[in-house]
């Protein structure tokens, strides 16, 4: 399934790009992220807890940066194993466009879910994935907007 969205972020493109590469910012913005550790410039390991209705599943996996084109965009790609719950993988192509002192962020995200969680939750996976993707970019927007007003 595919999702997309656009956010206007009240910060210069350089700051937005730095934040997109800041592990601490990403950890705060990824919904349910419990741990995110940098392994190399482009690789991280992650632990994410998903709670959707009665379902509680913990995914362990990797998050990588690909197609890095500083400061205009990159792809962020993740994959995790949730044990008996199944697996989840997804990614987002992110583009940044400078607009004066502000930055327009657009994304196209894809997600795939497999295993038990997909069998039982098929009617809800699309809405849930879209909601999680949007939550990430909304958190990211709020994180950067908050930092601006605090200054």
């Amino acid at each position: 399934m595919e999702m997309s969205g656009e956010y206007r972020i009240p910060a210069p493109i350089g700051d937005v790009w730095a934040a997109l590469n800041d592990v601490e910012v990403l950890r705060i913005c990824i919904p349910g992220c419990e741990e995110l550790e940098q392994v190399s410039d482009t690789e991280m390991t992650a632990k994410v807890a998903l709670k959707i209705g009665p379902v509680k599943a913990r995914f362990k996996g990797a998050v990588n940066f690909e197609n890095v084109d500083a400061p205009d965009g990159y792809s962020i790609v993740g994959e995790g194993q949730g044990g008996i719950a199944g697996f989840a993988k997804g990614g987002a192509d992110v583009q940044l466009v400078e607009d004066g002192n502000e930055t327009i962020l657009t994304y196209q995200a894809q997600a795939q879910v497999g295993g038990k969680i997909a069998q039982l939750g098929s009617r809800l996976i699309k809405s849930t994935a879209a909601k999680l993707a949007d939550k990430f970019f909304k958190n990211f927007h709020d994180e950067l907007s908050g930092a601006e007003t605090a200054v």
Binding site: G53, P54, I84, L120, T128
Partner: protein, 264 residues
Amino acid sequence: MYETKYHKASSVDEAVSLMGAADDGKLLSGGQTLLPTMKAHLAAPSDLVDVSGIADMNGVGVRGNVISIGAATTHAEVAGNAALQNACAAVTDLAANIGDPAVRHMGTIGGSIANNDPAADYPAALLALGATIKTNARDIAAEDFFVGLFETALEDDEVIVSIGFEAPEKACYAKFPNPASRYAMAGVFVAKTAGGARVAVTGAGDDGVYRQSDMEAALDGNWSAGALTGVSVSADGMLSDMHGDATYRANLVKVMAGRAVAGC
């Protein structure tokens, strides 16, 4: 396998303190969603606190037009309550058509709204009736209670005690059930209340139950199915899945709304 401790609470206070003491506790009412999820190992709470036997949380009270339903009251008990049927048949009819007999005899109104499945029936009724959800800690208006897909305003250890509302002048619920699960593909609850017309939609919106305000405005001036013909329902924000896409669901909302108003 994993271990789960089962506790049977005998009062609301006991349920709250058992939840507070649990490492990763879950309230258990009818268990019609939670237990299948646990069987599939998609949830593994450390403790289950069973609230189904708490006297204060059971039964239906009808005093004039003021109605109160205990959170642990099953759908079958609601469906079969004669006083409630006289006061607001829309709610007893809704309860009579939830799921299947097993769900209706085990599942409870409190469990249904705490789970807030985007295709559950009760959230539409509560939102349209402007109900108040009473918990151990506070009263929450239905408007504020249903936050989004499977999300409510409840805190982790908060226990729903009862649901209260006033009988409306007229009300009716129409749903297009999925033929297998009986979950609403689209369900519309309409109510003519003292505060005006209210229309709540479940099963269709991708962020859970919501109010269709343009239909409410149309019905305020003219309470008839004909008043809805001019209202168009957008496919934006509608659920889309293997059972039906967004455009189909948008159309279902309009058709179900018309049937609900005609059924009043």
